[in-house]
Every structure is written in C-alpha cells, then in structure tokens.
C-alpha cells in the first residue's frame, strides 16, 4: 500500500506511451495521450493524500475538527484536468486538419505521403 498508487500512476503512464507509439489512427493517439494525462492526476493526488483525512472544504465540517489532505496538489490537478481537455480539443482540431489535407489519419500512411 505504501507505493501502490505511485506504481499505478507509472503503469498508466507507460501504457499510454505504448498506445501513443503503436497507434494506427491519430484520433486513437489523442485518446492515448489523455490516458497519459490521467497518470499525472493520479500521481499528484497520491502525493497529497493523508491517512484518515478528509477534503479541505469546510462548508460542512468544523475547521480543525478533522485532519485534511493537501489542497495545493488538488488545485494543481484541477487546472490540469481542464487544460487537458482543451489540449485534447486542440489536438483533435489538428487531426481534422491533417485528415483534410492528406485524406488519411494513419500516421504510417502520412509518412509515406511525405515520401
């Protein structure tokens, strides 16, 4: 349990990388990239976790009554999630442009086109 979350984060990242490298469809590649992004969320939140603690949100608990987890990494992850989604959108826009220009979304065919 000590390092399981970190190992899971590393595993998810590596699996995403494998998908990125072997993908035959650029849209699928973008999906694999979002898997890689998920690994960073898991890693960040695992660093901030504290045993038996609760969320650092005091709308329904008395401040100081229970230990809380680290809010700084949560704020980082929060922006990470939204930026991740917009990066996905931007990459998909690039893929659509590639599809328009070259008529294919297979990276190997694209390499052949370039000659």
């Amino acid at each position: 349990m000590q390092i399981l979350p970190y190992l899971v984060a590393a595993y998810v990242f590596l699996v995403g990388c494998y998908g990125l490298a072997t993908s035959r469809n650029l849209i699928h590649t973008v999906g694999c990239l979002s898997v890689c992004q998920a690994a960073t969320y898991v890693l960040l939140l695992a660093v901030g976790y504290r045993d038996g603690a609760t969320a650092p949100v005091f709308s329904d608990v008395e401040p100081g009554s229970r230990p809380v987890v680290d809010p700084v990494v949560q704020a980082l992850t929060l922006t990470d999630v939204v930026v991740g989604a917009t990066v996905t959108a931007l990459l998909l826009a690039l893929v659509l442009q590639v599809a328009k220009r070259h008529g294919t979304v297979d990276p190997d065919e694209l390499r052949e086109l370039r000659g």
């Binding site: 590596l14 650092p56 922006t79 826009a93």
Partner: protein
C-alpha cells in the same frame, strides 16, 4: 521499420519503467502526515474566510497561475477556431433536420434547465463547497448542447449566437485581468486579495475577491467550451467539401 520501432520502444519503455519504479520509494510516503504546504494553505485560506481551500489556492494564493492557465484555455480555443475555420474549398450545407424520438426530446428539455441551474450553482458555491468556475462552466456549456441531442443542430444554432459567446470569452479574460490590476492601482500587488472585505465565513459573499475571480473563470470556461464545441459541430454536421474539387 516497424520492428525496429517496436524494439526501440521496448528498450526505452524498459528503461523508463526501471527509473519510475526506482523513484517510487523516494516519493513522500502515501498517506503520510507531513504536508507543510497544505497546512499553510489551509491556514491562509481560513484567515481569509474562504471555506473551500482549493478555491482559495486557485483564486487567491496562486491566482497568478490561474491567469496562466486561463490563457492556455483561451489560446487553445483560438487555435481550434483558426484550424477549423471554413476553408475556401468547403461550403456550408444546411443539416437536414433530425427526427428525435419524443421521450428523448422531452428528457432533454427537462434536463436542460436543471443542468444550467446546477452549473450556476456549482460556480456560485465555488468558494464554499466543492466546485467552482471550471466545473460549473463546463456543466453549463454542456447543458446547452442538450439542444443538439434533444432536437437538432438547427435548434442549437438558433439559441446560440456564436459572436456573443466569443465576446463573453474575451470579456471574462479581461475581467480577470482588470480585477488583478485593481490591486496594483490600489497600491498592493497584482491579483492580491486585499481590496474587498472578507465577509462572514461560509456565506456566498465570503473570501474577498475569490467569488469574483471564480465567476470570471466560470464565464470564460463556459463560453470557451461553447465556442470549442461549435467549431467541432460545424465540422461534423455543416461544413462539406465542394463536390469534384
């Protein structure tokens, strides 16, 4: 070629795996008690009467980072709009009206206002309960697209004047900057949360400038997502290439 690539990937992946696994024991113990930054952030947040510490970190203690993050969002949307604009060899076809089953239509029309209100609720309570401008903005923007699911693209286009959303996107970024500059003009620092009274803990107006910045982000995210989805929907539904070009 392909085999070579796979070998290269295997070697690199094995090396990276070894390094990552070796790094794991060096990280802070999972569930450990020592979170020096977290404790200080919680104290600072409570000092400023902000119940949701995460919102306090995002919009008060590290508001400058959020500005950067917001510009990434803005730039990404701009990039999408530029990349997916209508090219010279494309034309707009009127999408044929879709026949959507009545229960789905009814469901969409009932859930649409509920989702909009939920989005606004999540934005408005950002500094109190979990939530905030990012989450609420995305929910509100998604809610609008229930019209596409419940009716058709034409219906969505009628209630979605795109120029308004593009303008409000830019306006929200400006509002964030102006709120930051107000601190400079008042003689403190950029985005410093010192101008407004901190209010009563755990009420809607607590936290000084946090609710205002939160609302600006909510508006920005909502309009950005609407513009983003509009460019993709245009591509998928409306814009077609000229035949025989």
């Amino acid at each position: 070629m392909n085999r070579l690539r796979l070998w290269l990937l295997a070697v690199g992946g094995a090396g990276l795996t070894a390094l990552l696994v070796a790094a794991c024991p060096g990280l802070p113990r999972f569930g450990g008690r020592s979170h020096p930054y977290g404790e200080r952030a919680v104290r600072a947040s409570l000092d400023r009467h902000t119940a949701n510490t995460v919102a306090s970190v995002n919009f008060d203690q590290r508001a400058y980072d959020t500005l950067g993050e917001m510009s990434i969002l803005f730039a990404a949307v701009l990039g999408c709009v530029v990349l997916l604009r209508q090219a010279r060899d494309e034309h707009r076809a009127r999408p044929e009206p879709a026949a959507v089953a009545r229960p789905v239509r009814r469901y969409a029309l009932i859930v649409l206002p509920v989702a909009l209100v939920t989005g606004l609720y999540v934005v408005a309570h950002g500094q109190l309960s979990p939530g905030g401008g990012f989450q609420g903005g995305v929910v509100a923007a998604t809610a609008l697209h229930l019209l596409y699911l419940g009716a058709d693209y034409g219906a969505l286009e009628r209630v979605r004047p795109l120029a308004v959303y593009e303008t409000s996107d830019a306006l929200a970024v400006c509002a964030y900057l102006v709120l930051g500059l107000a601190g400079v003009l008042a003689g403190t620092a950029f985005l410093a949360n010192t101008l407004l009274p901190y209010g009563t803990f755990n009420t809607l107006s607590s936290g000084g400038a946090v609710p205002l910045l939160n609302a600006a982000i909510g508006m920005e995210v909502a309009s950005a997502v609407v513009v983003l989805l509009a460019t993709f929907l245009d591509q998928a539904v409306e814009i077609e290439e000229k035949q025989g070009s």
